[in-house]
Amino acid sequence: MDLSVIVPLYNEKENVDELYRRIKRELQKLSLTYEVIFVDDGSTDGTTEAIKEIKKAAPELKVIIFNRNYGQSEAMAAGFEAARGEVLVTMDGDLQNDPADIIRILMAVRSGYHVVCGWRQIRKDNLFLRRIPSALANALIAYVTKVKIRDLGCSLKGYRRDIIKHIHLYSEMHRFIPIVAASIGSRITEVPVSHKPRVAGKSKYGLSRTWKVLLDLIKIKLLVDFSSKPMTLFGLSSIPFWFLGTTFLGFYYYDFLNPSLVPDHAIVTLGSGILFIFLAFSLVSFGYLMELVIKTGDYKQNKILGDVSWIQK
């Protein structure tokens, strides 16, 4: 099979019919074999029934129904698991992505990229609630991770099959797939896509996600850089505390040698010194603990690199 289109759906009853019709219309223009996978992420508004209704007349549609709402990452993971296509394209179910763009994504993947991100050049969303926060977040993420993508939040993305099996999706990781993919050496590009305002249904995002995105960014950065060498991270971060601890202890020792100068509360320097030395030591211990965890884990960079096809052998 050439192409799998994966659409996570959560309460999009008004949109699914139109969505399926348009995807089908676009894909039929091409002479390729394809499938569409609708993942119903525990919808409560009747989306499930609507999809089942479509499925009756659509042999190339696969339907996956979750038993509760798990989140977009989990929905995508289920879709990826079921997908049989050589190229996997994900998109939103809210009709803000244009199914016509699937073909452009597909072409870009076929021209030799592993991950192709849609780039909504002209966004039709609220300026202050969506566009400005999103632009800031994208700039920050690109700066921190050194993966230059202007619109990470766009759901319309395409992947080559062999990259996706090395990426595990959970807890809103879907936004960071390109960054994880870059960490195992895949080639990434962007393709401009069109964007439409929402006509039906409700948006599921708000500004309250800011601190979550920040923490996720720190997490991804640390995971990508250090998940195969945690001792480096923990060892490095312990250095300032070795230094601080010794300095404070030095102060205390100096006071100790010059009793005439000692005020009553020199215990502060002694205490802080011991505290920081203790922290430095425990960070190193954490690093060691992590080496053990990674040894028993199943996500090893060296093993993945041995498996991916784009490494020159």
Binding site: A266, G271, L279, F286
Partner: protein, 329 residues
């Protein structure tokens, strides 16, 4: 777990293929007269007119119950007997029971009388009419001892605060579920108590039936203080397992960063004054010590969150974190 589990099967080890109900009775802590318990429930299950089996799992601590059950299983072919060589606890007993159950539906039953046996029919019906994947019981406590009601109420208040569950009687031992549900469970430690909450978290349909409490169950129960502490710790375990298994950074990262920022701010203030204010000494400022402590604790908590993330990131292939209800190809 130790695999050395002796299995003594009643009646030449023949279990019929079309067993409808498996009743698992973990005998781990205290038990009433097991023969009476068995006969009472046996009688009720016979009324359903489907084949059934009883699986008694005897923990090493309950050796004295062994002969009693042994006698019983000789007389009765429906009893399967599993004896633990050492004390493994209720979660392990249930797990072993689940793995050995043959029935279409699996019932669990406490080893002392909690619920009027005639209620089993209602549990069976709820499952059989496909109203839910699991049925649990809520004992109506009109005649229960006052202290029992108070402690149950408090326990469930705390439980609800941490997990958001709406169940009112999580610890009732009489539960029923489809076998696929039982097989999918990974209960260890003290998690057996929270099976309904775990099930609901996995998206299964759990139904709570109000049932008549057995008179024997209404006697006053006062446990050791340590027991109450264990229950509290169990709730905390559950809280982290349910909310943060796949996102430890969301909890530890947040708390850690707040502490670091707070301590950093205090220290920055002190150091600024030390540098630019005349006669401002650091060594007599306990706040320096406090701020350092906050930073140290903050970094540790943050690091623990990151450790959690690495564990999930490098082991997530093994974990199953979503459940598909239906797949139409």
């Amino acid at each position: 777990m130790d695999t050395e589990v002796k299995i003594a099967v009643g009646s030449e080890g023949i279990v019929k293929q079309d067993t409808e109900i498996s009743v698992i009775v973990p005998v781990v802590e205290r038990s009433d007269n097991l023969e009476r318990l068995f006969l009472l429930y046996y009688e009720e299950l016979s009324k359903i007119k489907k084949s059934f089996e009883f699986i008694f799992i005897i923990d090493a601590r309950m050796k004295n119950a062994y002969d009693e059950i042994r006698q019983l299983s000789r007389k009765n072919p429906n009893i399967q007997l599993i004896i633990f060589p050492r004390t493994f606890g209720e979660s392990n007993a249930l797990s072993v029971g689940f793995q050995n159950a043959k029935g279409r539906y699996v019932f669990t039953l406490s080893s002392y009388l909690q619920v009027e046996p005639e209620e089993t029919k209602r549990l069976y019906d709820a499952l059989n009419n496909n109203e839910c994947d699991m049925v649990i019981c809520r004992r109506s406590r009109e005649n229960d001892a006052f202290f029992n009601r108070v402690q149950t109420f408090l326990f469930h208040k705390i439980l609800r605060f941490f997990t958001g569950t709406k169940f009112g009687d999580i610890s009732c031992g009489l539960r029923a579920m489809r076998r696929e549900v039982a097989e999918a469970f990974d209960v260890y430690g003290d998690l057996h108590r929270f099976i309904p909450i775990l099930a609901e978290h996995q998206g299964l349909r759990v139904k709570e039936l109000v049932v008549k409490q057995r008179k024997e169950d209404t006697c006053l129960r006062v446990y050791k203080i340590s027991t109450y502490l264990y229950r509290l710790i169990d709730i905390v375990t559950l809280f982290f397992l349910l909310r943060f298994t796949y996102r430890p950074m969301r909890f530890f990262g947040l708390i850690g960063s707040i502490l670091i920022l707070f301590g950093g701010a205090i220290n920055a203030f002190l150091i600024y004054n030390r540098l630019f204010t005349q006669g401002f000494a650091l060594r007599d400022k306990p706040s320096l010590f406090l701020a350092s402590l906050l930073i140290v604790i903050g970094i540790q908590i943050f690091a623990i969150g990151f450790i959690g993330e690495i564990i999930i990131y490098t082991h997530s292939k093994k974990g199953k974190h979503f459940n598909v209800k239906e797949m139409i190809e």
